[in-house]
């Protein structure tokens, strides 16, 4: 393609100007990659923070709602009142667990009994949210055993694990007895087997773990359970799988996104802001290309005029400028992707004294293919105006000038 040869010659005829132009594109693409990697990394970190110690999907019985009953007498209405003392439970939880085990995207399952209780130690009393689970799979949802700072995670038949803030409030330490009084009015003396510290106040101050067998008589659930917590390999798929599980089991299935709607809104807003910044950096790159090629077309009016005079087609002239845009876009985008990845990879290695990253950047999330394709297409589009101007040039007018 001879237009390619001419375009390449034009670009090499002024190496400094071409280098400057490509540098501009490279910087714009670098900015795009950096913003994309930063926003992607931030989203990953926030998602990880939220989902690391909680389930991606929770299965529970549907909430019982008082229903208005129809009456033959229009002036009277009656309401079906459902006992709130009767605990909601999943009776056929074994079959639900079997179903969950057949789903490849499910990474962990934890049948649980959750309930409210008080911990009583002498004069001190503190409300707790009790989570009773299978001691053999204690870390299925949260990494409890790795957070133990005193004692160990072996629950046994009469053991309880409590958070560090709760232990402090009640003056407890591992090995000491404590009275658990459930919302069913049943008391039992348990031994604090371990104290954990997650760093999350809500867990460290309000949560206690028991063995599911220990919890059954305390919450009057000899067979059933209250909820099933599920972890997935890909947290982003939680919403779709929750919908499927609701339809398959009739249970209420709540995804982590639904539980954290405000977080999801923040992530969407963050992503939209990022898109705006990305769009502006691309637009500035494209304006730079368009203006540089317009200047080139104007500077070469005489040459273009003589080409047109000896019969070179206007499409050939246009192709010369479009190819220049294509080359600038491709080279600039390629260099921008490489340097953007290098920059992000370096930033990823920077850590604070406590070992956490200075910037929550994810180099793999840089959107390299998207920015390469967008910049290349954009550069071609940006060259269309100068190409059209050059192609429409009146040869006589250009030569006489």
């Amino acid at each position: 393609m001879f237009a390619f040869t001419v375009a390449r010659r034009y670009l090499f005829s002024n190496p400094a100007q071409t280098a400057l132009l490509i540098s501009g594109v490279t910087l714009g693409v670098m900015a795009f990659v950096f913003i994309t990697a930063l926003i992607g990394g931030l989203a990953i970190r926030l998602t990880d923070d939220v989902t690391a110690n909680s389930a991606h999907i929770s299965l529970e019985p549907e909430t019982r709602i008082a229903r208005v009953l129809p009456s033959p007498d229009a002036e009277l209405e009656s309401v079906a009142i459902i006992s709130t003392f009767q605990r909601r439970q999943i009776r056929a939880w074994n079959s639900t667990v079997s179903l969950l085990r057949s789903i490849p995207s499910v990474s962990a399952i934890s049948p649980q009994i959750s309930g409210s209780a008080f911990l009583v130690k002498g004069e001190s009393i503190s409300p707790v949210a009790v989570t009773a689970l299978d001691p053999a799979h204690i870390d299925a949802i949260s990494s409890i055993s790795t957070e133990i700072i005193s004692g160990d995670a072996s629950l046994g038949a009469d053991g309880i694990l409590i958070g560090s803030r709760l232990a402090e409030n009640l003056g407890l330490s591992s090995g000491q007895p404590v009275l658990l009084r459930t919302d069913r009015g049943i008391d039992r003396l348990l031994i604090v087997r371990g104290v954990f510290q997650t760093g999350l106040q809500s867990l460290d101050e309000r949560v206690a773990y028991l063995s599911i067998q220990t919890a059954r008589p305390l919450f009057l659930l000899p067979e059933g359970i209250t909820n099933i917590e599920i972890k997935l390999y890909d947290p982003d798929g939680a919403r779709e799988i929750a919908t499927f599980l609701h339809e398959a089991t009739g249970l209420r299935a709540t995804s982590w996104q639904e539980k954290n709607a405000s977080l999801e809104g923040a992530l969407v807003a963050q992503s939209q802001t990022g898109t705006l910044i990305q769009a502006f950096s691309l637009i500035s790159v494209l304006i730079g290309i368009a203006s540089a090629l317009s200047l080139s077309a104007n500077r070469r009016r005489g040459e273009i005029g003589i080409m047109r005079a000896f019969g070179v087609s206007s499409s050939f002239i246009a192709a010369v400028f479009v190819v220049q845009g294509l080359l600038i876009g491709m080279v600039g985008a390629g260099l921008g992707c490489v340097s953007g990845f290098t920059l992000c990879s370096w930033l990823e290695t920077l850590t604070k004294p406590d070992g956490t990253m200075v910037l929550p950047i994810a180099p793999r999330e840089g959107g390299y293919i998207a920015v390469f394709v967008l910049t290349t297409i954009g550069a071609v589009l940006a060259s269309v105006i100068p190409a059209g101007t050059a192609a429409r040039l009146d040869p006589l007018e250009a030569i006489q000038q």
């Binding site: 001879f2 003589i306 080409m307 019969g311 050939f316």
Partner: protein, 226 residues
């Protein structure tokens, strides 16, 4: 012998706002194959306009043009460009060489652009033409490193690249010193004599006209003497 160029009743009127300027008033011009004709006239007489019309760079407001037996005044822009490329050659006062290309590439360009590249045959012909215009030792020189006279000789070689039937030259020696101008005139005469190429040279220089075989004088938009 049928005429190579047959322009009849060529009229050209330019509009500038409400003002109309009639530059050519029914000009008749005929050239036989192998002629070396000078188109003379004072500044503003319309000679450059007539040359541009004959070269299909400008559409006349009246008249017909036949070149090589083909009516060309009604051709579309694309067809006019094709015709210029295949059957006409141009030499301008300023060479307008492509500065990023060598002498050989500049000469080959009119053939290379439509073909999609410079073939070995094109390259050989371009080199032969450059040798013929006395630039055998400048074949691969960048255009920017040639003198004014050398550049104009490259422009002549370029005009000959596609073996045109008619070569149109607009003040071809206007930007050259006396020695270079003589060389260029000698070269055009040689090409005319040996290749039987037909030249229409627009000039206001009597010395250039004296080297041609025919004089056509324009005055106030009409042919005064043939």
């Amino acid at each position: 012998m049928s005429a190579l160029l047959d322009a009849r009743r060529i009229g050209m009127t330019f509009r500038n706002g409400d003002e109309l300027t009639e530059v050519l008033k029914g000009v008749d011009l005929t050239l036989e194959p192998g002629e070396l004709a000078a188109l003379l006239g004072a500044s503003g007489s319309g000679k450059s306009t007539l040359l541009s019309i004959v070269g299909l760079l400008l559409k006349p407001t009246a008249g017909t043009i036949t070149i090589g037996g083909e009516r060309v005044d009604g051709l579309s822009d694309v067809k006019r460009a094709e015709f210029r490329n295949q059957r006409l050659g141009f030499i301008f006062q300023f060479h307008h060489l492509l500065p990023d290309f060598t002498a050989t590439e500049n000469v080959a360009f009119p053939a290379a652009a439509p073909a999609g590249g410079i073939s070995p045959v094109m390259r050989r012909r371009a080199r032969d033409l450059l040798a013929r215009v006395g630039l055998a030792d400048r074949l691969d020189f960048p255009a920017t490193r040639l003198s004014g006279g050398q550049k104009q000789r490259v422009a002549i070689a370029r005009a000959l690249m596609n073996k045109p039937e008619l070569i149109l030259a607009d003040e071809p020696t206007g930007s050259l010193d006396r020695v270079a101008a003589e060389q260029v005139l000698d070269l055009m005469r040689e090409v005319n004599r040996e290749d039987k190429a037909t030249f229409l040279i627009c000039t206001h220089d009597e010395h250039v006209a004296a080297r041609c075989t025919r004089r056509i004088t324009l005055k106030d938009g009409s042919v005064e003497t043939v």
